[in-house]
Amino acid sequence: MARIVLRDLCGARSGDKGDISDLSLFADDQAAYEAIRAEVTAERVKAHFGPLVHGEVERYEAPNVLALKFVMHGALGGGAPRSLRSDNLGKTHGAALLRMEIDVPDEVAAGARRRVRPPADPWRET
């Protein structure tokens, strides 16, 4: 087994409905999907977000697109129009989850495709 940051293994996107933050993790292949399915539980996600998430966290599976869905209740300071938070829409929650570290089989760690980083100043025309 190897310890890996989810950032290297998955994509993520998040959004809101009321006071619910709704986020998804996307694996690149079946092995990576099985690895996150085993490791990234609703309980771990709730613990990861700590005081940012007051309510329960539900997890759903979408194997057709190799994805896990997390529905986090009480996660946006009361919902966008009344929240005091800068990120009142939970747009950063997907990325925040990518900072979680999990243990995966060595071959999954070796196949992690998202280690590539952007250039320092990508869209500047020279």
Partner: protein, 435 residues
């Protein structure tokens, strides 16, 4: 027969340039989705100021772009830009059409999502500001059947705006759950404009072709419910398995049971097939009978917010920022300001989540303190305490830039100069008044 639908808008304030590419590529329907939950609250503030507002005021922009195609009979427009005042939006649409010299155009307005008149059917609080049901596709299909070229609605569910033209064109029945679910999938994939075409892509986003003009999407839809999600060739961005699946699950909660007014869609049943060349085919959607009730959104006042931003540079920027926030909170408490909730953030030191993972000292930290009070006066009292930090708080306090509302500010130039002392002294005067 293939029906081509273009996603023309993903929110109030979205881009307009990519709409031209979608129209030029040729679409039977341009669907502009303008409403998020937060948008309705923004529109409510507009309507509170002016009863004739409450719709998304960029509607005429989109109509101006689309009208030449509508008048040619090539494209119809469907939008929920009516917000919480679809009648006013309908008037604005008529005005925009007249201004463009249009004649013989049918503009339909769908009303009835406002449930405030239904006090018997739904329990609403006394201080309700708006209460709207998320309508489905049916009234739009009615409008299209009556020959509408432009359909303006209020709070119709996002995906239903796209389901409607498919039901109209293919004659799907209202209990053909699999086909309706397929329509919801298409609608959901298109309703956030650029977000299915490389926008907000969490993978190698920097590799988007022509990132300065990320495409708005097009769906090529078949009668069996399958569709190819694609984009206008000249536009930038990309449509891939990755960009499509990120949008597919966006904000849907349980992907097996995505609740919509027209159908409960199972997105886990969908086959997503990247055919290359910015073409992703989606097929095989399964659906279950629509929920018995409409979902609604009710809005009530929830107090007042104030906020302050205070920036500090290295060294010890985070400690200074935290001290400044402690100062403000202490000052407010000492004055007995009735604050109901505080929220602290430290930009540069983990405002959104977590901390620096290298433990290094940030070159600067911006503290943001927000507070909620029952009344605006109390919120303002806390704000008035911020100024004293300028000269009496931790060192290296600095700015975070001019106005945060994006409006231009006039700049002023100041230059030193010299002037003859005697000339000025001659006009210096001392007045003493006894009262």
């Amino acid at each position: 027969m293939t029906v081509r639908i273009g996603g023309g808008q993903g929110f109030y304030g979205d881009g307009i340039g990519p709409v031209a590419d979608v129209l030029d590529a040729g679409v039977d329907y341009l669907v502009c989705e303008a409403l998020a939950e937060l948008t309705l609250a923004i529109l409510q503030k507009d309507r509170q100021r002016d009863e004739s507002l409450g719709y998304t005021r960029d509607l005429p922009l989109y109509l101006r772009a689309a009208l030449p195609f509508v008048l040619d009979g090539r494209t119809k427009v469907i939008t929920n830009a009516g917000g919480i005042n679809p009648i006013a939006a309908g008037r604005a649409a008529v005005a925009a059409a007249k201004a463009a010299g249009a004649t013989g155009l049918r503009i339909a307005t769908v009303v009835g999502d406002d449930v405030r008149p239904l006090a018997g059917a739904v329990a609403l609080p006394d201080d309700v500001l708006f209460a709207n049901a998320y309508l489905g596709a049916r009234p739009i299909v009615d409008a299209l059947a009556r020959g509408a070229d432009i359909v303006i609605t209020g709070r119709v569910a996002d995906a239903s705006l796209f389901v409607a033209p498919l039901v109209h064109e293919f004659g799907w029945s209202w209990d053909d759950w699999d086909r309706l679910a397929a329509g919801v999938a298409v609608g959901h994939l298109l309703e956030c404009s650029g977000q299915v075409a490389g926008g907000n892509y969490s993978g190698a986003w920097w590799e988007n072709p022509n990132p300065f003009r990320v495409a708005f999407p097009i769906a090529e839809c078949e009668a069996d419910g399958s569709a190819v999600i694609t984009k206008p060739a000249p536009a930038g961005g990309m449509v891939t398995f990755d960009t499509v699946r990120e949008q597919l699950l966006y904000e849907v909660h349980d992907p097996r049971r995505y609740l919509n007014p027209d159908v409960v869609a199972d997105f886990t049943s969908l086959a997503v097939d990247d055919q290359g060349g910015d073409r992703v085919r989606v097929s095989g959607a399964r659906g279950e009978p629509a929920p018995e009730s409409y979902k609604g959104l009710v809005c009530t006042p929830a107090g007042w917010a104030g906020e302050a931003r205070i920036a500090y540079s290295w060294p010890d920027a985070e400690a200074k920022a935290r001290a400044a926030v402690a100062f403000l909170r202490h000052q407010s408490d000492a004055q007995g300001v009735p604050v109901e909730e505080w929220w602290e953030e430290y930009f540069g030191a983990g405002a959104y989540w977590g901390a620096r993972d290298d433990g290094a000292e940030p070159p600067e930290v911006i503290a943001r303190l927000a507070w909620r009070t029952a009344d605006p006066e109390s919120a303002a009292r806390v704000s008035r305490g911020v100024g004293v930090l300028g000269l009496s708080g931790p060192p290296t306090i600095t700015g975070t830039g001019r106005g945060r509302d994006g409006k231009p500010t006039q700049l002023l130039a100041v230059e030193p100069f010299f002037v003859d002392k005697a000339a000025v002294d001659a006009q210096v005067r001392v007045d003493v008044e006894e009262v």
